[in-house]
């Protein structure tokens, strides 16, 4: 078996804190599909979240460099979100979790 000493300072906890929550996995799902998605469109895909909460989740994910925010000036405003590069390479791990999760 592998050496799990790496868990010691619990980056694991930090990751899980960052990626989990009521809506973040769903957001991740959509961003893995669309690469770049406009806020209003993302919101329409998740009709059960309030705008406030969706925004909060997105902001937290920005702070943790899970996603990036792209703003195109003008009126009405246009804001897009996309995965951060660092998150893309996490894809395989997330897919394992996805697969594992289906068994429960």
């Amino acid at each position: 078996m592998m050496n799990y000493t790496a868990f010691e300072d619990c980056g694991l906890k930090r990751s899980l804190d960052i990626l989990s929550g009521k809506w973040k996995p769903l957001i991740l799902y959509h961003l893995f599909h669309e690469k770049e998605i406009r806020f209003i469109r993302l919101w329409r895909k998740m009709p059960r979240v309030s705008k406030k909460v969706l925004l909060e989740q997105l902001q937290q994910m920005q702070e943790h460099r899970v996603i990036e925010r792209i703003e195109r000036k003008g009126f009405p405003p246009e804001v897009y979100y996309r995965l951060h590069r660092d998150t893309e390479w996490l894809g395989p791990a997330l897919q394992m979790l996805e697969h594992w999760g289906k068994g429960r």
Copy 2:
């Protein structure tokens, strides 16, 4: 890039719900190290959790087949916890998360 259609039914959300929380990542950490650990010993390693909460977390993890509970009859009672086999093969994914988490 990979095909992330697998996220569709959001096993990802289920996994993250199951593995995250205030103490579960820590519990996982200890179990990845010790393989089989007695309740009281685990508790002493996590002095800031109340016994009640620790027990709750362990029970939930049992229900989701993340860990197994082993009881050795007698008095005083002896109860051990260990990772479920299905969780062990998740190790690599968790290590990626561990590594990724350190960067934030």
